[in-house]
Symmetry: C2
Subunit: 446 residues, 2 copies
């Protein structure tokens, strides 16, 4: 028996790090390939990040947009999801190190995504909250709701204005969607639920270093988005650079003007939707393989997404720097990661069969972003849509993209309900200390 | 103007502390009474505690059973919910102290509920988790899911058995419902989703100091509940007393046997559903008013729920010790708190009108508890029901009791879905450190 086992060849082992769009689709696409897949993630769930801003504003519950991996893969017998943090990669021994354990691989797929970076100011991370995880979203929700509660019994008008000023840094899709939703929900809540508050004191500030919102979108859509945000009452600051973030204020100056003076804005809630940086695992990999890292710590990959010199290691999604011929590096979009995940799965299957390698082509389906209720901008190939049509399309696409049927049904019902009633029922203040006015958190700089 | 304002009498001010069943129903019942209600709570939501065990086992999301108070009272113009912690009561000055602020009252309703007590062993609270708040429920969920993940790659069979042993202390309704649900979900998950685990290694232990489960229920129902739990595979230990709880084990000995030897059971997850104690605010009140406290720190109240000597201070629910004539002290049930809340509201209205005082009568509607899928026990007045009939009745009653229409619809859909698919989608591991095998948490005593 022992001899037989030793002689027997093991199946090709694929280790996938990260269960975001790239990792998840790679693992699913390998379902019928004769491989053994190990999907390692620090979380036990796939998170549908594009809807995270709705958790942050109380419209959806975390479980609505998070699919437990064990559930997703329960019928895919060749894939085992493993909860753990990868601490090292050894490309010579072909093992991944994780919590003191070694996981051997024949093909390695690295899709651990990106995290927020504060442009060389890690200390800003103490006051500004990003939007990458369930914990981030519930932290924003908590901060936002506590600000309203605290403002409702705050006697100092200066302090009340700081509490009611919500600042969002970065006007990409996440920042725009967050600003639109926050403007609407805070307006509704101060009008309807906090009788002691003056709705006109609420201010949602969207700060963007470029000259327009949604800089990667066509001009017509950028303009429409800006006008819609302004009509809804969002205070949009373009060409504005954040120079400091403290517990009680942000400092902003003109991004183009050489000697622009700094403006200090009192604000208790800062949401960071600006720069991202590849997962630090990228650096680990670069050290181990000598791979080149580009902007934001991304790993420069070959046309088949493999790491130069290592045809069995693939990097994809937000961690990969993929130059798409004349189109330049591909952006960090869910659609890119998803297509790359599927490509890598097919590529591994081809390699096992000894078929020749192909290269990755990104099929650009478009871009879309909502701006509050009933309004959105969308580019579908060459077509540009705005307003209600774009919004309905956005709803449709996002519902279909959710991983499980159950998520789709529950999100649809919740959305219909929210739309008709303006209610956002998932407005819970939870956390280690659910009390208002935590001096450290809200009065840190006083 | 100033003179006129000074002469004008203010409306009767009612301050309610706690938005559990008692406080919530008191506030709602005061809607049409000419009073000003301030509802103070440490949370911004009313929590439907009877379904908390379903959040702990991943069947429901926290938002499904938590109604934001601002939303609940948005159309009741005489009630303002206030988020804060009451730190003192001054019955002579008639003010409640809260976060350095003073809130004056004409009538005070104290309904701050109970919390778990560990029978003189507060250190057990480091290892055992109660089930009173959203955070408790998500902590249990996290511990349970991490135990399965960790066990799935644990090589030591002793350690694996400790990870797969889930201990519940106390076999009242909460303990029984928790044990039934945990047994079913852990069995399903090890069979279907953790291919590396042996379902027979999972063990759910229910420890009860009395001679039967559900000690306050009629004998027929107690016996049925015990049989059902055992058939489902719950290891029920009656007449058993917990003598120690550590991070890796509990110690149990016979409760009746004088010189019974201690048994040590290896277990990584301990859920506490045994003794409760009135909120410490009870002691504060007792010191301020000289009121008598009884078993579990409850305040002995008059027949109209007022504190002896203070006709304008009322204590109700889990904080009140109310001797119901021959029936003895009323138990800490949602139904008791709810009826007392409504009674106090009517009583305050009568006092304002100068009408004579009445006394509180508890209308005993019955008791019910589920034991996993399709099974429950219920007593409705003198009638006793078991099995599917009782279970359907339980579903019906609990759906109707949920505060908002939206909660009812979403919980109904989620339950139907869970029942048909065995799925429990709200199985998220969240928290400050979402990683498995946290040495402090799981290996604390090694």
């Amino acid at each position: 028996m022992a001899t037989q086992a030793q002689v027997q060849h093991h199946k090709h082992r694929v280790v996938i790090i990260g269960s975001g769009f790239g990792g998840l689709h790679a693992a699913q696409k390998l379902a019928k390939v004769p491989v053994e897949v190990t999907l390692i993630d620090r979380r036990n769930h796939h998170l549908f990040q594009p809807l995270l801003y709705q958790v942050a504003t109380g419209g959806l519950s975390p479980a609505n947009i998070a699919a437990p991996l064990r559930r997703v893969f329960r019928k895919q017998s060749n894939c085992v999801p493993l909860l753990g943090e990868v601490t090292g990669i050894d490309p010579e021994a072909r093992v991944v190190r994780m919590d003191g354990q070694e996981v051997p691989y024949d093909s390695l797929v690295i899709a651990a995504g990106a995290q927020y970076q504060f442009f060389g100011h890690p200390e800003w991370g103490e006051h500004a909250i990003g939007l990458k995880s369930v914990e981030d979203a519930t932290a924003i929700r908590r901060r936002f709701l506590l600000a309203l509660e605290t403002a409702s019994r705050c006697v100092s008008s200066e302090e009340r204005r700081a509490l009611l000023t919500f600042t969002i840094v970065g006007a990409g899709p996440t920042g725009v969607e967050m600003a639109g939703a926050l403007r609407e929900i805070s307006g509704y809540m101060t009008r309807e639920e906090y009788r002691g508050l003056n709705p006109s004191e609420v201010r949602v500030l969207l700060i963007e270093i470029e000259g327009s919102v949604l800089p990667s979108y066509p001009e017509k859509l950028r303009y429409y988005a800006l006008r819609t945000l302004q009509k809804k009452g969002v205070d949009v600051r373009l060409d504005a650079q954040v120079t400091d973030i403290q517990a009680g204020h942000v400092k902003v100056c003109g991004a183009r003007d050489e000697d622009a003076s700094e403006e200090q804005i009192l604000t208790r809630t800062v949401i960071w939707a600006a720069g991202v940086r590849a997962n630090p695992l990228g650096e680990t990999l670069a050290k181990a393989t000598g791979a080149e890292t580009g902007k934001g710590g991304r790993i420069r990959v070959n046309k088949d997404l493999s790491v130069p010199g290592y045809p069995d290691i693939f990097v994809l999604g937000d961690m990969a720097l993929f130059d798409h011929d004349s189109r330049g590096p591909l952006p960090g979009l869910a659609a890119v990661a998803k297509q790359q995940g599927k490509f890598v799965a097919k590529h591994i299957a081809r390699r096992i069969e000894g078929r020749p390698s192909e290269r990755f082509y990104y099929r650009d389906l478009g871009q879309m972003a909502t701006i509050g209720r009933s309004s959105a901008v969308a580019r579908i190939g060459p077509f540009k849509l705005t307003g209600l049509t774009a919004w309905l399309l956005w709803l449709h696409v996002h519902l279909l993209e959710l991983v499980s049927f159950e998520e789709r049904i529950l999100v649809l019902i919740q959305w219909t309900w929210n739309y008709l009633t303006w209610n956002r029922s998932a407005r819970l203040i939870t956390g280690p200390s659910p009390l208002p006015l935590p001096p450290k958190e809200l009065h840190g700089d006083k």
